[in-house]
Symmetry: C2
Subunit: 320 residues, 2 copies
Amino acid sequence: MSNCKPYVLGVDMGGTNTVVGVVDTLGKVVNSAALKTRDYIEFEDFTDALVKACRRLMSEVGGNDLIAGIGIGAPNANFYSGNIENAANLPWKGVLPLGEMLNKALDLPVAVTNDANAAAIGEMTYGAARGMRDFIMITLGTGVGSGIVVNGQLVYGSDGFAGELGHTCAIRDGRQCGCGKKGCLETYCSATGMARTAVELLSTRQDASLLRDLDPAAITSKDVYDAAIKGDALAKEIFDYTGRIMGQAFADFVSFSAPEAIVLFGGLAQSGDLLLKPIREAMEANLLPYWKGKVKLIPSALKSSESAILGAAALGWKAQ
Amino acid sequence: MSNCKPYVLGVDMGGTNTVVGVVDTLGKVVNSAALKTRDYIEFEDFTDALVKACRRLMSEVGGNDLIAGIGIGAPNANFYSGNIENAANLPWKGVLPLGEMLNKALDLPVAVTNDANAAAIGEMTYGAARGMRDFIMITLGTGVGSGIVVNGQLVYGSDGFAGELGHTCAIRDGRQCGCGKKGCLETYCSATGMARTAVELLSTRQDASLLRDLDPAAITSKDVYDAAIKGDALAKEIFDYTGRIMGQAFADFVSFSAPEAIVLFGGLAQSGDLLLKPIREAMEANLLPYWKGKVKLIPSALKSSESAILGAAALGWKAQ
């Protein structure tokens, strides 16, 4: 950490969009730029465009002498190696040496981690987990990601891939997961998993629902939310089912690291009590006695448009 | 840690026996003494006897000026408070300020933790996990205990109770556990859980087995082992079943902290491939692709009679 430099550069790389921004010590995004990740056929074309964007943003704030480091959150990124390894939702396959390329091109220290870990660092530095030394970040999106903080440190494990709680088993021999396993938490509790539940219930049941007006193949978790707040019973049941499975899983996560809080991030996390209530009930019912009533369940306190970049930026302060 | 003192005092407190010993820097138990935990009606009577034993052992090696600290492993003991809290298998109820009492009586720094964490520290300091920064210790006894090491540190969590993997859910709505929940891993995979499986299979099935010669109420995991090595098919099936449930659970533990190894401790852990093979198969089948074939599964390298006291002693070096 460079104490005298006022800025870091944060890069939030996603399967669709990549956002870059200069962030100050208070967590203010000073300027930013966006790239369409899929516009680049070769990975090198992408990094060239990314480097160009970084240079422009840094020169706008006074040059790269004022930048303490670069933090990057990217899918399947490994903290130890700085590489992206076999990311399913990026257009380039294999091992991508993202950290090394940016370090060489920009002559600044670079730290890389996966998107859920970046979100956890952002939450710890600027958000709902400030001051916490033990918490678990759960990101609810296309998949279920997680960033685990123990003793104030991100858990990277022996190989840099720790914290794949979306791929713990929720239901033995349950739904087929993209990872090759069956019954993974994310097949039920991601936004996509919730849409899967909707399609399942609509096809096996007969009761009326606002969701029946929609094309089943196109139903999203947002549609389920919209129907549920209008009082649709089936939509509420989908939230109850999703929350119950999540709460049961969370109770097991608590047995592992006894976190002070579980922080939920992503669009679904903003569903309020529709989701939080069934999660809390199922979690409490499955906790050991001394944890009952003690583990906080809180939605992220960061604007979703900024949190990933803030997390990546926060990691930049520690880049060496 | 006091560099110039050659010894620590380790206390392994169990529901039946309590063993105290002076241990040197190389992990040699120099002398030791044992107490019957249940011989003392009041907790104060027990600590009086324990203090007396400690004084005698310390004077034998040259006095307490040569002792760097005292480490204690005890059921339901909390590292942060130094207290034993509501231990089900001790004769005294409520909160027992063990750490504080020994610190006052012996004027030495004291560190307290639960028995599974003490075993993990012992394994890391003197045993199979030397040099590892990320591993999980699983103790198989009356229950299933666990000690989790991340970044070279024991995971205590926000309240000191982290690492209760024996109470993660193995089978939803499964067997009733002593903790009040259902389907906990320890109801299937502890020595006691394995005996439960034996009784269940013997009562629901008709096939011949050496185990049918025994009183069902008195069958132990040792009996199952003895029958299995004689080739008894039902006994082998009990090992397969136990191992499969354990391996499935271990795969989820790997998703959490990506350990280099899972170390197994306790009598059952010495069953060799009878248990390790089905564990390994089920674990591998349930791991994410990048962990397949990478996580070691190893039995403890410490003599079971010494490991708990060595673990407690190792903690003593860090007592302050």
